[in-house]
Symmetry: C2
């Protein structure tokens, strides 16, 4: 099958007619309409087989996740997702696999009304690169560099689920609690609604992909501040509470702060904005986990008042 | 070395301050300003090692080519190139190699004033995906679907150089004629100025990446027309004339029409516009190579009046 036919057949459902797409897939490039008063928001992320997802992951889950991690970046900017391009490198033309990939991607794309506007299919070791594009009213994008000493550090949802799922791969696949945890690894939820709702309230934001400790360090560096975290305040899902019951506090902290793949938003905001932010995000939880400090670096502050420096770790690809 | 440091160090020269970049590399996403009255033009292309470039290619040439093939798509739309994102998958953190890649990419980026606005570095088998973004006045983009029966089929520059260079890999590397040919494979020239100049004149256009025969077939399908080509009219460089002297007419035609990697523009226009188009593109040659026909399909018309059907071939990745 030719690459053009491959793309056309399986990804047709991802390219709906949209008023802001003057010309979609099939030409040398797409022609897109950016409304006046808005900035274009662009991010790109690659998933490599065996590195960003287990080799045995279902193709539909890979399709979902490849798009989700990119939409998560748009969410962290407070953007509305609009379009994406897909660069797909496949070892062979496997129809069933490609159809599965497209179906998972389509499911998430339809949910957020984001249209596939361009693609490239090449032969090689499996990897998927998506470039996601969105819109934000000019000047209202959520950046990393606006955190101020005294701001609260908050996170959406729960942390550590995906890291724990990765650690428990292959265990009791039919158990509904294991499945709930596994979904958090395979089908992360990009927090687009939350990002939108936080415009005008958050002083800084980013999405948690490599782990809270490493990601928050980037936010602090960009803002020229530091942060203190309460390790006991990191929010846990019911599945995490149940399945991590046998782990030490240190192991749980490592999963929650250094495991990565959460795709929750980490948000800084002045204390007086917390109630409003929570009201806007409900029923999604927004947990206060620490404070921004003038002193640089990351520290842990335990309930008894002791503090500890949190060393630079986080996930690094090299 | 961390991925952030890697990106920052080698690609810093690719992210100049620009009035239309509200926020560049280093946040979750870039914030870009699209001027009123313009459409955003977006294209994405992947280069996989050993497939899109020989494994022994110099890293600077790979960097140039990865960007060039994407800018070529913008050229085919008549767009001005503005920004690009880079998704780089590397087997290991090789500083000298990465520095080389960045230097070749920077050289081309500076020439066309296009800024790197986002990136992702992952570990895995070598591949490079770039998403290029440009601008075109609304409604003025050059599309594939506007060719009409009676239009001339023209191409910029010369065809077959890259395909012949690939065939001659490793021969007499110090010979200046071989080197000239090899440059056409390693450092293709995106025809951005030509694309811009053809706005308002061309009825349809695309860039030649997979080979004239296959690419023109796509243009004809999109326009609902066919085409007749004069094989003797396909333009040749001096290097091609010299080094292909021992090849048969059939072999030369295969290199020129089916070899791929030309990155010239194939343009359709009414006969009365040819002189104006040539004047605008000079000193770049614009060669008339055939005509658009109402009858679908591609045919060859020889000077003696014989015709032959040109079978569907072109480069396919699967």
């Amino acid at each position: 099958m030719g690459e053009f036919e491959l793309i056309r057949r399986y990804f047709a459902g991802l390219t709906p007619e949209a008023a802001d797409v003057a010309l979609g897939i099939g030409d040398d490039a797409a022609l897109l309409r950016v409304p006046a008063g808005h900035e274009l928001v662009v991010s790109t992320d690659t998933l490599v087989a065996g590195r960003h997802f287990p080799l045995a992951t279902a193709p539909a889950d890979i399709g979902w996740k490849a798009l989700a991690v990119n939409l998560s970046d748009l969410a962290a900017m407070g953007a509305t997702a609009r379009w994406f391009t897909l660069a797909l490198t496949l070892p062979e033309a496997d129809e069933a696999w490609t159809a599965g990939l497209a179906s998972g991607m389509r499911e998430l794309a339809l949910r957020h009304r984001v249209a596939l506007v361009g693609g490239d299919t090449t032969r090689g070791p499996l990897s998927i690169t998506i470039t996601a594009m969105g819109l934000v009213p000019a000047g209202q994008g959520l950046r990393r560099d606006g955190a101020r000493a005294g701001d609260l550090v908050c996170v959406t949802g729960t942390l550590g689920d995906a890291a724990l799922a990765l650690r428990r791969l292959g265990r009791a696949d039919q158990d509904p609690v294991e499945q709930a945890l596994r979904l958090r690894l395979d089908r992360p939820t990009p927090r687009l609604d939350a990002g939108l709702a936080l415009r005008g309230l958050a002083s800084a934001a980013l999405d948690l992909s490599d782990g809270l400790a490493g990601d928050l360090r980037h936010l602090c560096a960009a803002s020229g501040v530091g942060a203190e975290l309460d390790p006991a305040a990191l929010p846990r899902s019911a599945a995490f509470e149940g399945l991590a019951a046998g782990l030490s506090a240190e192991e749980c902290f490592a999963l929650q702060a250094q495991g990565g793949d959460d795709y929750e938003l980490c948000v800084c905001l002045p204390p007086e904005s917390l109630a409003e932010a929570r009201a806007r995000l409900a029923p999604l939880a927004l947990s206060e986990i620490g404070r921004i400090t003038a002193e640089p670096g990351l520290r842990l502050r335990y309930p008894d008042g002791r503090t500890a420096v949190l060393a630079a770790t986080g996930y690094s690809h090299f």
